[in-house]
């Protein structure tokens, strides 16, 4: 494994642009932020990104590999994000399609605390896919959402999470919702002998996030939902270290990076970055639902969450966003059993949540 951070870009040239200049522009912009003529030879060699490869593809596209010294990062996830795409986010035609991580950075960032095996243990499900659903819609009272949680738990849904937009609105304030939903699921578990879990959405501001995590832990929750691009990615990593709860990450706000010619490939952002920052499960919009990912993108995300990566634990792919009950078995066949199936609307549409959940589990052949 390289000691450097190797970043592969697809460059799309505008008329008049040269590939060499565009690649060098990235290497300078993301490090010294000065023209090559203003930096010393020493700084240029040590700090400016190295252009390790540059090859023409079809049309006006080039593939460039730019590697960065660990000295440009200093072990901080925040500076790593900035180095990857901070200033060049403001440019055009630069898409990150591969990252090769130096072991030291992976060791420093740490990855999932529980991972696939750990989350299976928490859920008491040794094999096969996990089933997840979401408590919604916003506007319901805490009691109403808790009743839905109860029904999902009766139906044997493994992880019952808040919808990611259910935060601390007046209809169902966080503390009240936490208490009600956690109690409802405990009641259902007592009736069924099951182990359904409630993952409250702790996404909140800088002062409030720790308090919600603390409250979730005190209430007996084993995991939480978080929108890391809203809280700042490092907040998730911090939550991992500080609270030990399982972390299910939601992709809110990240879609802007998924441009065809400019941005960060979804499998790197929702795969690598979320995983190195501690996500035990990463939600993404499944193909064929309400969003536009291709099946190849979904499989790439799955791969990046599960692949060998410097000894980091693998994380659960969690396709959702309009997953249809009818097609869920097909997706599991395709994606494999180490997958969390996130289905909300398609269960709600059936009315009886417990029955719908049970039927889905049967269709998925989940014990």
């Amino acid at each position: 494994m390289s000691q450097r951070l190797d970043v592969t870009f697809i460059l799309t040239l505008a008329p008049g642009e040269s590939a060499e200049e565009k690649a060098l522009g990235i290497a300078l912009e993301q490090t010294v932020e000065l023209g090559a003529d203003v930096v010393s030879d020493d700084i240029r060699e040590r700090m400016v990104g190295h252009i390790d490869a540059l090859e023409a593809l079809d049309g006006n596209r080039y593939r460039a590999v730019i590697s960065y010294s660990p000295a440009t990062i200093g072990n901080e996830l925040t500076q790593c994000l900035n180095l990857l795409f901070g200033n060049i986010s403001l440019k055009q035609g630069m898409r990150i399609v591969d990252i090769r991580w130096p072991q030291a950075l992976l060791d420093s960032f740490g990855g999932p605390r529980h991972g696939i095996a750990g989350l299976r243990e928490i859920c008491g499900v040794a094999q096969g896919p996990l089933l997840c659903s979401a408590l919604k819609p916003m506007g319901m009272s805490a009691d109403q959402l808790a009743e839905r949680a109860y029904q999902f738990a009766l139906g044997g849904v493994h992880i019952i999470k808040d919808d990611h937009g259910v935060a601390d609105q007046p209809d169902a304030p966080f503390d009240e919702r936490l208490a009600r939903c956690q109690a409802a699921i405990a009641r259902a578990n007592a009736e069924t002998g099951g182990d359904s879990l409630y993952f409250p959405n702790v996404t909140a501001g800088f002062r409030e996030l720790p308090r919600r995590l603390e409250a979730a832990k005190r209430a007996g929750c084993r995991g939480v939902l978080i929108n890391p691009w809203v809280t700042g990615l490092d907040a998730m990593r911090w939550a991992r270290d500080e609270f030990g709860l399982a972390l299910m990450a939601h992709p809110a706000l990240t879609g802007a990076y998924f441009g065809a010619e400019h941005g960060i490939a979804p499998e790197l952002l929702l795969g690598d970055l979320f995983r190195v920052a501690g996500a035990d499960a990463s939600i993404y919009p499944n193909t064929g639902g309400r969003f536009g990912f291709t099946v190849e993108t979904c499989e790439a995300i799955n791969h990046h969450l599960r692949r060998e990566l410097g000894g980091l634990l693998p994380a659960f792919p969690t396709p959702g966003g309009g997953m249809d009950v009818k097609r869920a078995p097909e997706w599991i066949r395709r994606y494999g059993p180490d997958t969390i199936v996130l289905i909300g609307g398609s269960l709600y549409a059936q009315g009886d949540l417990a029955a719908a959940s049970r039927a889905l589990k049967e269709a998925l052949a989940i014990a």
Copy 2:
């Protein structure tokens, strides 16, 4: 002022899409995340976004105004961000071009603590533009950066900030750099009788950010640089409340939202959002530099930072990113005196930083 959050979108329709469905899709996706048929009349009326206007523009483009109830937000900046663009970031052809803020949200978010007048007072500059430069490149030692800070201060640069990629790398660790640069500027101020200020870059992870802010305050700094999209936007607001330092916000990572057909207009993200979250100054890439903003976009950002907005203090536009000393006077004539001129590379290229800074101040007719 409306009680609701009014968001204007330009919708770009893909073949086969209808404007009505696309607008309704946003209104549902960003709130209840369920099909219209699965939510009760009560929830639909109270929580789903209202489509207040929908009109055809040229070609396949439509203008839609969608308003959201405060009940969908609950006063949290994190949920506000999610409501604005969380899930729909993952879609296509939805660009936010205007936001009308309800007074209650503005009161809750609070805006700049110092604003233009306060930052002028901190800098001791009652009128005319402020001059800012950046300490770089990364790879220099703390002493070397401090020497540059000293030269800039001798030249009368008002705000001398860390480059936004200078974080806590081994060549110039934060604490050492803070001490050295702050001392260097104090020494220059003692020699010149000036009031130059050092704004260290405090951008860091969740655990470390408070410590850096505390260290900056203890060292006597009056302000700091922060990359709010890296730390999480609410971290900046929290820093405002907790430390009282002036906040200069950097746009790292935000460029991905500035797509022509999908995203958030720069004047809303770097203008409104940064301002409501507490930025006293907002850095943006000036037109004609290394980035691609038009002069109209720059002027829109200036306007959004300075305009009347529910009693919030105005914030300083801070054009940078390849500003040329030669053209700086022209930009100030165009943008007006309530502007911070951020110039780095164009001063470094001249070698003698003190002399170059003095010459620039003369050209700008700054006392």
